[in-house]
Symmetry: C2
Subunit: 451 residues, 2 copies
């Protein structure tokens, strides 16, 4: 029955790189859409998902640690008690009971909002999308760590926002670099709309800001009148059992705090939240209603029932142990196998190690050879808006079994050794800057599998 119109086509079609078919709608897209293309590494990751490849790329939580019978009992209970609410439209701001429970959870991190200050979202990704939507015009600038979360960069790109990266050290974002970035922008007559930061167990850097550094960063931002977006998906996943105090605990009006149940319960329910000052919360809710009407009551009431009927903190502790064991396997095998000149961060929580390769190496160019050697990672360029990160790699230890991690690191070390030999022989590795894809900034989104 279908009678498609022949594609008239735009011969200048920039889609050509990602499909042989021309897109007849090309001339119709919004300005924000023109930079929106699938990342080159996306195709590689479809290969990397084969079982013979050890993937140290994906940031998928290890939900095998979550007993399925507990989930099943929770959902049965939820449907019997609040089924007709779970299946219906709900508030755009989120379920009131869940918002109270979220207040209790963030209380563990020293944050004590009113439930009215909480907006429930479809994962904290949506909270970040909405925050950017309400604050950022095209051409605005924001500050983010160098490197920063790839999913956040995708949002900033989608809203045509410039990102000024701020350097980190082993204690996270450097206050001195933040001051310099602010001074540099002020010289250009630009005021950043906000600082986006992940103070605890950073993705991808695997480092955390100590308390005194958080205070210093907050002070700098307060003095400069810069809003802070504190993204905190891993705050409860510190391996020593200590829960870092959130930046929002020290500043209720200058910080928007983003949280998520993806790592403490399950990512597939897509429930996150923002804690925001009154006026901002009102705008976030209106923006959320335009975006999705309301977050899924079905997901919200599932996690709400789970929190009220299950020993959820014991489960968080179980998750911590799962990830600590994997972090240990990662660090031990890196120590054992990595060639000289390689360095890496030592995470105290979260999912990631940030690896820096010896000089002259290019992690982006090396990726196809690593996948051929049956190990996958995310090259550092994915975590920058400016093409930096070529000598860096993000290793995710959250998902594979410890033995697989060890095997993956061994394989990766083998690839590095080969590269180093090539450099020693020819002065450069194959595919170093100047060859395929190298030198260009990573301006595109690699997809949810690498978040």
């Amino acid at each position: 029955m279908s009678t498609p119109i022949p594609a008239s086509g735009d011969p200048s079609g920039s889609m050509a790189a990602h499909g042989s078919r021309l897109d007849p709608h090309l001339a119709r897209y919004a300005a924000r859409t023109h930079g929106m293309t699938a990342s080159e590494i996306r195709a590689l990751f479809s290969v990397a998902s084969r079982p013979e490849v050890v993937s140290l790329a994906g940031g998928m939580p290890n939900i095998a640690a979550l007993p399925m019978d507990v989930v099943a009992a929770t959902v049965a209970e939820m449907l019997s008690k609040r089924g007709h609410v779970a299946l219906q439209y709900g508030s755009g701001q989120g379920d009131p009971i869940l918002r109270e429970q979220i207040c209790e959870i963030v209380g563990l991190q020293g944050v004590h909002p009113h439930p009215d200050d909480v907006v429930v979202t479809v994962g904290s990704q949506m909270a970040l999308d909405l925050v950017t939507r309400i604050f950022c015009d095209p051409g605005d600038v924001i500050l983010a760590e160098a490197p920063s979360y790839v999913g956040a960069l995708g949002v900033f790109r989608a809203y045509q926002v410039d990102v000024e990266h701020v350097a980190m050290d082993e204690h996270g974002l450097m206050p001195e670099a933040l001051r310099e970035a602010l001074a540099m922008l002020a010289k250009q007559g630009r005021a950043p709309k906000f600082l986006y930061t992940i103070p605890s167990f950073h993705n991808p850097a695997g480092v955390s800001q100590p308390a005194e550094r958080r205070a210093e960063i907050l002070q700098i931002c307060q003095n400069a009148g810069v809003l802070v977006i504190e993204d905190d998906p891993y705050g409860l996943l510190g391996f020593d059992g200590q829960i870092p105090q959130a930046m929002r605990a020290q500043d209720a009006d200058g910080v928007i705090y983003l949280g998520s149940f993806s790592k403490t319960f399950a990512a597939g329910i897509r429930v996150g939240w923002a804690v925001a000052p009154h006026g901002v919360r009102e705008k976030l809710t209106l923006a959320a209603e335009a975006a999705v009407l309301c977050p899924p009551a079905y997901s919200q009431l599932t996690i709400s029932t789970y929190l009220s009927t299950q020993p959820w903190m014991d489960q968080v502790k179980a998750f911590r142990e799962v990830y600590r064991e994997r972090r240990d396997a990662t660090l031990e095998s890196l120590e054992q196998h990595m060639p000289e000149g390689t360095s890496w961060t030592k995470p105290d929580g979260g999912f990631y190690v940030w690896l820096t390769l010896p000089p002259g190496m290019d992690a982006t160019a090396m990726l196809p050879r690593a996948i051929t050697a049956r190990v996958a990672y995310v090259p550092g360029t994915a975590f920058y808006m400016n093409g930096e990160g070529r000598r860096s790699i993000r290793l995710s230890y959250c998902f594979p079994e410890p033995d697989r991690i060890r095997e993956g690191v061994r394989r990766l070390a083998g690839v590095l050794e080969e590269e180093l030999e090539l450099i020693a022989t020819f002065g450069t590795a194959i595919g170093a800057p100047g060859t395929h894809g190298a030198g260009a900034p990573e301006t595109t989104a690699p997809g949810p599998e690498v978040m």
Copy 2:
């Protein structure tokens, strides 16, 4: 532990109308955020949710017709078979099995896409948000029916898109009015980015386009090079059991089709979809990933399991009967009680009757008095971007029991009679144009409870 900074405040705060607290972040918002304020009628609806008020306002599906034990069995089955997929991150485009099932469903409406052409979204609201995001720059113009879906207008407003309303008659959008609107825009040198239309069982107008009119509208749009966004949440809910053929069935490349499980299963799972041409689908997926990473696997696998294990079409038939009975109660009691000079549409499916009041009346101004008389509706102005609709009312018959509907219509008729008496005595109703809130366009979002 919280030490809030005192709000410095912006004394010019336009938030003043919606809260006594000033918003210290006011100067930071994006241009698109400035028009984003809560609707005045929102406060009224919080009153309207009291049990003594018969609400003919909300568009909530009647999920009481969905057996909870069936849902519980479905979820238990889903968790036992695909639990670890349901709780994990998934594809940004949506679950592949669900996308195949969606192809079967739209096949009932003559639409035969490839599963790759389907993008699963958080309700079809998100599909509409993404379509607008990828196509519309601020200041772009789109075409929509007069009146149009309030949630769509909220999206267009959020992206600073101008809406040119196109008149309808009892067979929906009028081709002649569409030609005129296109000619008028062409004279202004403007090309609409798309036509947004609900051809079947229109929200709020309660009318449907016959097949020949759909073909004519498609032809006009093809000739003018205008993309069609076909929003079809009610397509399976025709009371005579006939399923209208979708516009997308006749044009695979010029139509983006939006569908939803909100009315055929449950709104609380928030699962909708777009069927889009290849290039557009790719952009939609990238935009979806920036917005939410991926739609909830938990919801998707629930509906997928439901479709594969339950006689879902029997349930759709049960829903049809529920709504047909309520439509009948509405039309009968309107016939019985409404004063002369009042007219209304006669829906063959869907949730809504569009009521036109006698000359001189103002449905927006009358709403507080109606709520005092314990009946609620949505005034027509909510469904226009340009302040029109003052003489119109949307009555939703989807949710209340038939006897409650009859009582609500009786109460509404009483309010109308009183208004008409006032007009006969004083020449105008209290609160007619010129008094509180009247005359101004409804530029704000009334909230999800009236969708």
